[in-house]
């Protein structure tokens, strides 16, 4: 699928389906070390994105990503809402008025997304947050820069999976799980898991 506005919209719709399927899993991960709402929050947000796209699909990829950003910011709440919202917002800023996303643009957008999350949430790698999925996702994506958009996103998703897995052994230092300290060890961070799920959905959609 080409990475046009319509292609990005399709990827977001696919992501919404994946989030809905994994809603309970994300709630349960958050129940273990947080407050049991991450799956509910994201599924509320992505359902709203799908509705928004039904009304009208913006003309550029940047427009679609920005619509996703503002919808997430106004519908998700909690920590994940502003963080994912900022990620999408910063990514959309990078996309400019391009009619189609190519690999360099995609990498720029991913970089901007990670920077945005870190600027807002002040988490670094190893704090057991979504940042631990985004960092390896980005470097894997950069390593696959020679491939297609689908290749890049697949590499990113693989990296995010590894990153999410790595949070199991970490002591959380940001967000609600940080209150648990060592008692959180053994649990995967829900935000890292949702990042991996989203990137996988985008990769599948790009095939």
């Amino acid at each position: 699928m080409a990475c046009t506005a319509e292609g990005v919209a399709a990827a977001l719709r696919a992501a919404a389906e994946v989030i809905a399927e994994h809603r309970t899993e994300l709630v349960d991960l958050d129940r273990a070390i947080g407050d049991a709402d991450h799956g509910e929050n994201l599924s509320r947000g992505f359902t709203a994105i799908v509705s928004a796209l039904e009304t009208a699909v913006p003309e550029t990829p940047a427009g679609v990503v920005k619509l996703a950003a503002t919808t997430l910011i106004s519908k998700v709440g909690g920590a994940a809402g502003p963080l994912y919202g900022t990620a999408f917002l910063r990514a959309s800023a990078k996309l400019g008025d391009a009619a189609e996303i190519d690999v360099p643009l995609l990498l720029d957008a991913l970089r901007a997304a990670l920077e945005g999350v870190q600027a807002r949430g002040k988490a670094v790698g190893g704090d057991a947050t979504m940042v631990d999925a985004l960092i390896p996702a980005l470097s894997a994506a950069e390593g696959a820069a020679d491939g297609t958009i689908a290749d890049v996103l697949t590499a990113a998703a693989d990296g995010a999976d590894r990153g999410a897995e790595s949070t199991v052994d970490l002591i959380p230092r940001k967000g609600r799980a940080s209150y648990l300290g060592e008692r959180a060890v053994g649990h995967m961070d829900p935000g890292a898991r949702s990042t991996a799920l989203l990137l996988r959905a985008f990769a599948e959609a790009a095939r």
Partner: protein, 333 residues
Amino acid sequence: MKKIINDPAAVVAESLRGLAVAHADLLRVRDDPALVVRADAPVAGKVAVVSGGGSGHEPLHGGFVGPGMLDAAVPGPVFTSPTPDAVQGAIAATTGPAGALLIVKNYTGDVLNFETAAELAAAEDLDVRSVVIDDDVAVKDSTFTAGRRGVGGTVLLEKIAGAAAERGDALDAVEALARKAIGQVRSIGVALSAPTVPHAGEPSFDLGPDEIEFGIGIHGEPGRERIPAEPADALVARMVEAVVSDLPFESGDKVLLFTNSMGGTPQLELYLAHGIAERLLAERGILVERRLVGPYITSLEMQGISLTLLKLDDELTQLWDAPVRTPALRWGI
């Protein structure tokens, strides 16, 4: 899960409908985004005091909307911070040239969403300040955590800031008083059982039949440690020690003692705990001059209590005593 609800996704909206019709003399409820606003808002010339956060902690915050306390409350979904546009809506509905004070509990989600709203308000030339309350001594305040959580002290802070705004203090003064109160308030909570979030459908954590979670948060997030159940005398002593030694509160200090039910604690037990806390404070020479006992900041049906101590001076005492008329706190009017 057995609950008196229809659809988990509609719980907050349907509950707010009940609040609106029960207290039409005091407040109005707006939908999408959900807001609870003082019936006579905006009050001309007055600093607006606005708070909010995830739902499930009732009466916090909507039950504190009314003369002498909050101008608006922003209820998010259950245990989920509201979004910036909801906060923005509350600011818009209440705030004039005198500006607004946002009272934010220190949770990543609340801080991020309220921060964004404050930025948006500033862009519209409104004078909006935020204070972040982080009174929970259960959590170590270090760079290794998201910082201390805002818990029981929030209720006292909303009363004090609300009273200051009501008597006509300017925003600088209201903000300064709020910061003073934040500096002088400390809390600790315990849980005997877990809450069940409607959309999750299962208790938020598992606690053995003889275990108590010491240092619980108001979303059922765990705290310091899990301890074996113990008699009330020992448990309350442990709580008093945690709170008193933190500020520290000292012999001769005048304080407000707030004994809070987390939602599911029988009042019989709540007053029993309160009596023990008063005795232990008296033994330390700490002078309890005001008290509040009841379910004021809850975690759905969670069984447990929290103790909050606020160090009083004449001004804080006067603001505490000032008339208030809200669904959950009322005196003097």
